[in-house]
Amino acid sequence: MCGIAGRILASPGRVGRELVELMDAQEHRGADSTGFAIYGVPRDTGYILRGMGFDKSRLDEEMAQFRDILKEHGSDYLEEPVFVTDHNPHYCVRMVIKDPRDVAGWIFDADKLAGHFEVQSCGRSLEIIKDVGGSVDVADKHGVRDMIGTHGLGHARLATESSVLPNASHPFWARPFSDVAIVHNGQITDYFTWRERLMRKGYRFLTENDSELIAVWVSDQIKQGLTMEEALKKSIPSIDGVFTYMIARPEGIGFAKDRFAMKPLVVIEQDGELAAATEEQAVRRVFPGECDVINYDGPSLTGIWTVGNRRMAA
């Protein structure tokens, strides 16, 4: 059991604060880890990176190595790294980098550090914040409530398939596709098989978490020429297990539900804005008045919600 949430605003606003509310209302579904994917106002150039190192005593050394790899790919810091640490051994970092010559080529090399330091999101607008602990703790630690954006995802994790580790929290970035993030409620039973297939195509997975697969799987299908809608539909007979997942891109959020209708999804849409969550009581935190609630309770459902007048590109 996990709790997931999505939020779309009509114009850039306090999406961080509202996602924290949506997750706080669902903390009973899993409080071992919490994470957020927030889409700010897109940059024209440069990528925002969020990352995590697992031993803060090695921070200086690892950042030097990381910067060397950036430079090898024609990139460097545009904004100096900002670190967040606490009593835990791991550290979190945010930075803005100049465009590398090729994102996929650069992240392939940067992932050589992945046992010690990993990039957890890369995008013109996407930032993924994840950590162990409940929503309020994670929000306080990382200043999530102050983050401004158009849309985003939230996740409260109750680990069932792999360990509780700060980097095994959701959301997951669809490595190496910039600006793509996912949250998932459920269990993927054939993830190991799919992971092997995707790894043979050159994709990399940094955790043992089954959900990391979905973001890459959907993005790979889109790379092969499917539209987002087609990829979401195809995932239902292709990926085995129970799931309701949401996948976000700069244009909006898509979702898919498994064939057995095992996991909930509740949505309120009003005046070009939208809140989606596992539980109705969460979306009511954002829309407290009585309003029409859409229960996506049925099997094999998909949908796409776009931000403002953006269109979901193929």
Partner: protein, 230 residues
Amino acid sequence: MSAFVIEAGERHIRDVNSDIQSAVAEGQEVVVTNTLSRHNLGIGLPAGANVRFEGSVGYYCGGLNDGATIEVERNAGWGLAEGMASGHVTVGGYAGMSAGAAMTGGTIHVKGDAGPRCGVAMKGGNIIVEGKIGYQSGFMAHSGKIIALGGAGSSCADALWEGEVWVAGEVESLGVDVVVVEPSAEDVAEVDLILEPLGLKDTSRNWRKMISGQRLWYFESRDANAWLMI
């Protein structure tokens, strides 16, 4: 006598339920306001209790009902009246997944649609849905009746035991080991008797009565392939 008003809001649900139990023990009718789709409202209410929830409620509302009359103004979340022994639960709008799961008696009346697996593993009582029942409704129902007046989703009445699923309107597809039988006049009269007090009797309905094909009752592992759905 005017009803006793209890506000749910952000209060601890145990306190809200405790207030409801105290009020009904004193013989008062109860209205619960500002429900905010919260879970576990009105659990284990006794016979004679009369509780109305304004707005929408979350999961397991009216669970383990022991004879109370419960009304939900708008929608109910998953597991409405789960494990109910007796009583009458009315939902003005939509009832989510697994309404009436494992109930052993009493009546659920849903004025809108019901979600998937309505009446899953029910062991008695009746569920009446004025709209459509969702995917796999009646799954493994041991006894009792599910009556849908507005059609049924796919995999209807999947793996029924001795429960019955009655549908007026379109059935998207049947589940495994289900047979559709022609109901006798006595059967229809029995269903009409359930619908009449709700003001829903209509003799012009074209019923599809679904019961178990009874082949799954004697399941043999060597036949597993015949039942494999995935």
